[in-house]
């Protein structure tokens, strides 16, 4: 096997990086802090490149769609056209003040973005009507919880039921919800810690495409 294809090399590098970050976090040693800060700078630079890689991947995917005339290929033409338009007009004025760019951002991007979110809201409301039907104990708990949590957000409910209208929703959020979220966060943090430990020990190999 070629030297550069050996999996031990990336595993060792990842283990050293993980160790530096962990030791910095738990010891606060100035030398380790300097090393960890430098690594973070590298990560930020890499993240900047990731944006570029994303753009290249997008262009590759959509040019292939157009070449092969895949279903909806005309949508790919629009994507490439607008990507180019935003890129060129954005580079012409880095303060995003170019009038063409402003038109695209204000009248297309922002409106469509808001519309997509609003569309989600309509389906949520439809979901309340269709999915929240009390068929068993689980759906009863779900529906009752939803009812009181929505009431809690509707200040107008106070007009009909007084301040007591908000008490059940507040209790649900402050007691069972809080306990559940805490358990979830602690469990996921322990999971991240285990992942770090597996990376440190070279047991985690998913990121180098060799499984494990």
């Amino acid at each position: 096997m070629s030297f550069i294809r050996r999996t031990e090399i990336p595993i060792t590098i990842a283990a050293i990086m993980t160790l530096i970050m962990l030791l910095d976090l738990f010891t606060g040693d100035p030398t380790l802090r300097a090393a960890s800060t430098m690594l973070q700078s590298w990560a930020i630079i890499l993240a900047g490149f990731a944006l570029g890689i994303g753009a290249v991947s997008l262009l590759r995917l959509h040019t292939t769609n157009i070449k092969r005339k895949r279903p909806g290929w005309y949508g790919s033409v629009l994507i490439i056209f607008f990507t180019a338009a935003v890129l060129v007009t954005g580079l012409m004025d880095l303060n995003l003040a170019n009038p063409i760019l402003r038109f695209i951002l204000d009248n297309m991007y922002m409106r469509l973005y808001a519309a997509a979110w609003a569309f989600e809201g309509i389906f949520l409301i439809y979901g309340l009507y269709r999915a929240f039907k009390i068929r068993n104990l689980d759906s009863l708990i779900l529906s009752v919880t939803a009812f009181f949590c929505i009431i809690r957000n509707a200040a107008v409910a106070e007009v009909f039921f007084g301040p007591a209208a908000f008490a059940p929703g507040t209790w649900i959020l402050d007691v069972p919800n809080l306990g559940g979220i805490r358990a979830l966060m602690i469990a996921s943090s322990l999971g991240i810690l285990m992942l770090g430990l597996r990376t440190l020990l070279g047991k985690e190999r998913g990121y180098i495409r060799t499984g494990g």
Partner: protein, 277 residues
Amino acid sequence: MSAKKSLMYRLSNVPHQVIGALTLIVIALPYLMPVGIPLKITPYSEQFKAALDAVPEGGNVAFSLDSAMGGTTETGGMIRATIKYFIYDRPDVHIVMWGMHYDCVLVFNTFVADVLEDADYGKEVAWFGYIPGTDAAIAKLSDDLKGILSVDFYGTPVAQLEIMDNINGAPDFDLLLSFDTYGHADSYVGHWYERYKTKIAIGMLSGSIPVATMRFTAGQIVGFCGGVKGAAELEALLKYPGPAYTNYDVMNVANLFAIGLLLFGNITYFLTKKEER
């Protein structure tokens, strides 16, 4: 009997197009005929306001615009009210702004830029634009702020910005505000609070309130402001009414409609079941 059953069945299976159309009408009504539902200020919004008030005279505030443009229907009002509060009511406070979401420049131009025209740029306020890298960038900002922010959004070297003279990282800020729709606030808690105990207040979507409540009760953040309701309350508390107050009416009516649908769906479902039996 069968016609009756058929009607009940149809009422328990109303097509989504009809529900969608009704929702649109219900949402449009408060815009056409504002109801002016009285606002009840919750303790959480009061604590968020208290966190703003607690910034000492001449203090430094980090203002992180982490909202996607689509999320500004909820966070936009709180961003605008907060920046107005600092620029008009607390001009002594220094504001350093950046964004962890790539929409931050749009959010800045829409909700902040015109307010900053009344501030002394470079002395009272500085704007650094989008910073890629999310968690790594947030960690780096806490340790070595100038390592990332070497020039501002307009290309001015940081050495020429008077406001940045004594700011090098998280310990130099009296408060960090993150108006967030994507979970960046969690990274701030991890790197800014856990390491330096920086005071953090978060403005976010209503869906993030459960996590924020947990962080607040654990003492990791000093306040939070969630959703349209929180934004409207903050606008009222800071005395800068804006878009959230208008949306509050809509949200109330939409919530009542949602409750109505939930009850209607269940009533028709049980009546249909009864008929079937």
